[in-house]
């Protein structure tokens, strides 16, 4: 009980925080840098989630397109805030970046099936939570 109470208390004061300050930076810059893997067009649920995450941080979405390899590397370096593309949950990239749940779907597909997801920089737990909470 005490743990849950403490957790609720801590949850109230904007935790978890990002070691790389992604969420703070997005808010301060007023801009969310999103990379789209060239051949993967976002569906309606993904667009909704993007819009809602942007709104929650008072930011505009700045779109870029490119090959997945380049975009994911940019996520690792913290040069992009989000990447949208189709990735299987067990992709080799899953160790280097956080792969979100599939937008607009209740059940997750099998781990070896490619599905639309957002990739987020590892360890940016606050930003990950913000994006995941923006799911429609």
């Amino acid at each position: 009980m005490m743990a849950i109470a403490t957790a609720a208390l801590l949850g109230g004061c904007n935790l978890p925080r990002d070691p790389g300050r992604t969420a703070d930076t997005v808010r301060a810059r007023g801009e969310m840098r999103v990379g789209f893997v060239a051949e993967d067009l976002p569906d309606r649920a993904a667009e909704q989630q993007l819009a809602s995450a942007a709104k929650a941080h008072g930011a505009q979405v700045r779109r870029l397109t490119g090959p997945s390899e380049t975009l994911l590397r940019a996520i690792e370096e913290g040069e992009l805030d989000l990447v949208y593309g189709r990735f299987p949950a067990d992709s080799p990239w899953a160790e280097h970046v956080y792969l979100s749940r599939v937008p607009g779907r209740l059940a997750e597909p099998p781990t070896d099936v490619s599905a639309p997801r957002f990739a987020i920089r590892n360890g940016e737990n606050g930003w990950i939570m913000a994006v995941e909470r923006a799911r429609p």
């Binding site: 743990a3 849950i4 957790a7 978890p16 925080r17 070691p19 956080y98 737990n125 995941e132 909470r133």
Partner: protein
């Protein structure tokens, strides 16, 4: 020596009960920890320690089953040392695992890996998994705190090394839980290093447990003098027994060793034994059942040790 002395049968029964309770309670802890554990290194290391805490409890129960068995033709001295054997094996596992986890924690620190802890669906709510882990770790702190506290006095009465180590390990166990909580709260505050640091601290405690257990087990397997439960020193009751035996047979060579929870004494290089003193005179205020065997050998037969010296 095969059957338990009547004085300690009652304590043995409560010790067995406590250990069964430990198995049940710690299994529930492991289950909760497993369900909540995500990518936190500290949490995973704490889970390892919880799994390992089953080892001494299981060792104790197996040994308690075997110990009272009567000697057989192939094992004429019975099975009182079966726990020493199991103890050594578990100590080696503990040491190896502690070392491995320590290396892993330090690697995480050097590579500056940022631990990622994502969301989790709980009762239809999206919550940060870190909070779920903190709740699980908090639960994991409670059983070892209580059990360790109950085991310590019984272990002293029974002079039981496995039970005593078990009680100490449970102390390490709840401290581990607290370290894990610190690690995850640290991650929540944006300190990526907190998780790996907590994992390294926890693995140090596992490693320490293992090394201490190896020392204790080795002392008995090498026929060392009876050791005190909570230090590497010779047990006080053994020291006093040694002094009394030396006073009774001046000039004789008195050697004590330990077999399970019992003391075996040999008085060597004595040709005139005379009437041996009563057990109560030898042990006086100490538990008399501790002295399980007193043997004598004449001067001529104890040359083996002398020749080498």
């Amino acid at each position: 020596m095969s059957l338990l002395p009547p004085e300690i049968r009652e304590d043995m029964r409560s010790a067995r009960q406590l250990e069964w309770r430990t198995l049940g309670w710690m299994t529930s802890v492991i289950l909760v920890m497993f369900l909540a554990s995500g990518s936190s290194q500290a949490m995973r290391t704490a889970l390892f320690e919880d799994v390992l805490s089953l080892v001494p409890a299981a060792t104790f129960l197996i040994a308690a089953k075997l110990e009272p068995k009567s000697p057989t033709k192939k094992y004429p001295f019975g099975f009182v040392r079966v726990n020493s054997l199991a103890f050594l094996a578990s100590a080696v596992v503990l040491t190896a695992l502690g070392g491995w986890l320590l290396v892993e924690g330090l690697m995480g620190l050097f590579k500056a890996e940022h631990p990622t802890i994502g969301p989790m669906e709980l009762f239809g709510q999206t919550v940060w998994q870190g909070w779920v882990m903190v709740a699980a770790l908090t639960y994991s702190v409670i059983p070892p705190l209580i059990l360790g506290h109950l085991k310590l006095p019984i272990a002293r009465k029974l002079q039981d090394k496995v039970l005593h180590t078990d009680a100490l390990m449970q102390k390490a166990d709840w401290q581990t839980g607290l370290a894990g909580i610190c690690g995850i709260v640290g991650v929540a505050l944006g300190w990526w290093w907190a998780d790996a640091l907590a994992a390294a601290v926890i693995s140090l405690s596992i490693l320490y447990d293992g090394i201490r257990n190896i020392r204790t087990a080795a002392a008995e397997l090498l026929d060392g003098a009876p050791r005190a439960l909570d230090s590497a020193d010779i047990a006080p009751d053994a020291q006093q027994l040694q002094a009394r035996l030396e006073a009774r047979w001046p000039g004789a060579k008195v050697r004590l060793r330990e077999s399970g929870r019992y003391i075996l004494a040999s008085v060597e290089e004595v040709d005139e034994i005379g009437e041996p003193p009563a057990l109560h005179d030898l042990m006086q205020d100490d538990a008399p059942w501790r002295l399980a065997q007193l043997s004598f050998s004449p001067e001529s037969s104890s040359r083996r040790g002398e020749d080498k010296a």
